[in-house]
Symmetry: C3
Subunit: 170 residues, 3 copies
């Protein structure tokens, strides 16, 4: 699965490990925000000119640009968050994100590219906890002061049988 820009570059170990820890901290904040349903705070993890995609792995591997979600710019994320909170109808559920295997791929020009595994669990009322979606984040981070922001997040999911009618942020 080759995504342009996400090639592996040889990095100094100490630097890569430091950046990995930063990204892990980022994921912890980001995931918890979604898990607790604080959708209003979600766009704050992105730059103004961000790109946010959720795409099936089979589409990425086939070079098809199709996606379940394609959002350009922080305003589209705000619209999306608003729509989910206020206009969409769906059964209430709890979400929980697990992240793992964070790998810094390359760095340069003020950008950090990384790949991480995510596992999104879902619990419907009176139901068991199930695997909603599993996949990989392909992220491009930039730094704003000491804080990381997502300039690009491509969520590439393995799970082909997901509820396509309900595209919650990942």
């Amino acid at each position: 699965m080759n995504i342009a820009g996400y090639e592996i570059q040889a990095l100094e170990t100490r630097v890569a490990r430091e950046v990995r820890a930063e990204i892990e901290d980022f994921h912890n904040e980001y995931c918890n925000t979604l898990d607790l349903g604080d959708l209003d705070d979600w766009p704050g993890f992105f730059t103004d000119d961000c790109l946010y995609l959720i795409t099936a792995r089979e589409n990425v591997e086939a070079g098809r640009p199709l996606g379940l979600v394609w959002a350009e710019g922080k305003n589209m994320l705000r619209d999306r968050a608003y729509a989910i909170k206020n206009t969409m109808m769906y059964a209430p559920r709890y979400l929980q994100h697990f992240t793992s295997n964070v790998k810094v791929l390359n760095m340069g020009g003020g950008q950090i590219r990384a790949r991480s595994n995510y596992l999104l669990l879902q619990t419907l009322v009176e139901g068991p906890t199930t695997i909603h979606q599993a996949g990989r984040y392909y992220d491009t981070f930039v730094k704003q002061g000491s804080r990381l922001l997502l300039k690009e997040r491509r969520c590439v999911y393995d799970t082909t049988l997901i509820a396509n009618d309900l595209a919650l942020p990942v």
Copy 2:
């Protein structure tokens, strides 16, 4: 989900990351002890005056103090461990804990507060591995020498449909 005492405080990055690594080490030991069934060693991870709770997220969000398990003091944990090993009847099973997304929330007065995700898998004899419970630890640690001990652990689970009749430690 607001739990008194578990507010987020601005922490110096390097300190927070160091403490996160310590907590990850703690989780590794704690989880492995439970996973291997060494219940006798489980109370050793707590202070004498500890509080140990397992509560549903919906109860926490509604401000209800109800819980699946409520144990005060290390002796109650010892009693519990003894009961599970010697008097309770249940089908043998393997457990495996995964922890992720450890976030140090605040520090002060000799205490460290942190939040972590946990995923507890269960395998019954001749059965598949399933998700038994997924949730978050809200932990209050104190240091005894160089070792962390739990003064409080609140296990807040998303999974509403769990086997309430069998409350193994989490």
Copy 3:
């Protein structure tokens, strides 16, 4: 579950944490290689005289040396990778490994022994993502230059009901 050689030794915290980070980096590379189906690269993570096992936890606990997979030497891994890619018939699937709870057990004589949790998810075409196997790695690493290599990997799985006819690398 006692496996000879994998006893816990007191280690200097800073050293153990540094080595843990190295092993986490190793897992990230290793797992991603398998997840992306790059089976040709898989033997490259091992020493020439390696031992690679996949065994059920119940066999390990009973002291039985039986295993689902038993491979000695890098050449057997190469044969295995070749067979899986070229001669075995099975439904296409996506795999995703999650690793967690890495614990350095002991170090000495140029070897590092560690235990880690793994969770292997599987997605068949048009199917949901399911838990294929969950277990623990018992690893013996040696260093080649600055790189870790597996001299031994024992995959001990909890999941008793796995597809025994298809033994993909873990």
